[in-house]
Subunit: 345 residues, 2 copies
């Protein structure tokens, strides 16, 4: 049996290798091109007399360029694009738009969550304030739409619907906070609206770009399911303690994660204990640990892992014939990595 540290390092290497592979297949230059266009979209500032409003772009750069984002959405666009043989230039614009929509949602989420840290760095709202974060989000969203204005209008239209879906899901997430009695169905709604819808848009936009209407459902549904899997992976990592310093953060932050809801569904006793804990003003650390251990004892990690793999399988099935195209194989490899990385050591 390999140690956790070894496992992690293997995992990191495997990720690196697969991402490299994804890169080389969709031409190595692709992510660099996306990065250059992101920089260009957010560069500089406004001229006099509006110069001082340039802080909106500064805040966006802070989040989007200096924040160490993994560029999951651009990578997905690259792979979807490869599957349909899309031209790299237009693909880079779609990738930039996807990343900017993501950034805009984070700028607003930080206001909504009153977050002070993101990816280990101070949020825009804590470096500046809520005002800057709200308005910077609005501006970044506009820049996202403008990035794809040259392409079929349906791409923008679907992006607009995506934003409505993301707002709705963000609101549901707030409502769900502290409620272990939330239905698993509502969890799915949130995961699809928040992460899945944008992953799905990445696929749909590529199909619309290529005017391949028969591919829309394949790529969109693949993205949707991958987004849900991605969210499940997040929940599972918290339960497994991949970040040991902040293990069981979902319990601490009263976030009814997939794992917690499944545990609640399986065990009325756990549900009662979680309800009681969340009804209190303060959560004590030993109680958090105890609740977390109960979830593990119920076998929820394995259950979540299985659900995640199933979701990845369905994502691949959704790809249909495109699974066998070059980019499709990369998506499959990425999905496989997502599962493998989370297999219990």
């Amino acid at each position: 049996m390999i140690t956790e540290a070894q496992n992690k390092s293997t995992e990191a290497q495997s990720q690196e290798r697969l991402l490299q592979r994804g890169l080389s297949l969709s031409k190595e230059s692709f992510l660099a091109e996306v990065e250059a266009r992101l920089r260009k979209a957010l560069e500089g500032g406004f001229s006099a007399p509006m110069q001082e409003a340039s802080v909106l772009l500064e805040a966006a750069r802070h989040l989007c360029l200096e924040g160490g984002g993994k560029r999951v959405r651009p990578r997905l666009v690259g792979m979807f694009g490869e599957a349909l043989g899309a031209p790299e230039e237009a693909l880079a614009d779609i990738a930039v738009a996807g990343e900017l929509i993501h950034a805009a949602s984070l700028l607003h989420d930080d206001v909504v969550d009153e977050g002070t840290l993101r990816r280990g760095r101070p949020t825009a709202r804590s470096l500046w304030d809520n005002k800057v974060s709200v308005l910077s989000g609005d501006m970044v969203l506009s820049l996202a739409f403008l990035q794809v204005k040259r392409y079929p209008p349906m791409i923008t239209e679907r992006a607009v619907e995506l934003v409505a879906s993301m707002s709705r899901a963000a609101m549901m997430e707030i409502v769900a906070c502290g409620r272990p009695e939330m239905s698993i169905e509502a969890w799915w709604g949130i995961a699809m609206g928040k992460t899945g819808a944008l992953f799905g848009w990445c696929g749909e936009a590529v199909a619309l770009l290529m005017n391949q209407t028969d591919a829309i459902a394949n790529l969109r549904d693949c993205g949707l399911r991958l987004g849900v899997a991605f969210q499940m992976a997040d929940d599972l990592k918290d339960l497994r303690g991949d970040d040991p310093k902040d293990r069981f953060a979902d319990i601490r932050n009263r976030n009814p994660s997939f794992c917690l809801l499944t545990a609640s569904e399986r065990s009325p006793a756990f549900r009662q204990a979680l309800s009681l804990a969340w009804s209190k003003e303060r959560l004590e650390e030993p109680q958090i640990q105890q609740l977390g251990e109960s979830v593990l004892a119920l076998g929820i990690a394995e259950h979540t892992y299985q659900a995640l793999c199933r979701e990845v399988d369905l994502a691949m099935a959704a790809l249909g014939p495109y699974l066998y195209a070059p980019g499709g194989r990369d998506i499959a490899a990425w999905g496989e990595w997502l599962c493998k990385g989370l297999r219990q050591a």
Copy 2:
């Protein structure tokens, strides 16, 4: 000389008459149709399991349907549309989009300004919270774009650029707060970005709808200037005390209005006095009144009135040949009313 009360009542009658006239010319049913479509866009809620996110639509209805908005933007769209002979159905959609973009900006502005009241009613953020106001604004903006998705894509593209411009102007407004040394040029930038750009879009969208590219600049520039005039009128009303309970609110709220900046430019002594007052944590009421009286003593009310009329004249000139079309005459009448209503009694 007529009393202030008489003057007000005449003003109200004159407004009523002109709006009626505008209405009858662009068919009486137009505003009712806009209202019905606004209701439809914001009606109902989401189905299970996302039902509880319906608060986003509730908040939007609270602001947009129950808030007693004057529907200035839909009226403008109606008049611009009349000038180009646009079909009422499509025009109503553009009017709804304009009103929704306005509503979305107010929902975000309330968060940005930490406002508790708007049009004498509690803001969405005080009835619910900042989160609801931010996410409702995002959703309402999406609904605005969706309202015009059937029309030439350039209409959406220009709306997206408009949102960027409005965010920039809102940021500049924050930066300008408490700064009497701001340039008049910056004031123009804010007024154009905040109010003018949306009024201008109302014109531009109608021209794009009718595919009358030669009319774009006419209608857009007319709207831009009317928006600036509208902002000047606001500043002048505050100086004249049209709302006696809250006279000199711009001084109280450290808002460098057109009147205050003009006074600062004319009189270094006033500028110094305002700077000193705004540098203090607390502003005392007698000091506010004294500063306000100084602005009046400098003849700023008359100056602002002249500037406003000039702006309206330029707006009419911008209309070019469309000034003589039916809707164009209504716009001219509306501009004339804006001036007349503010003429010193």
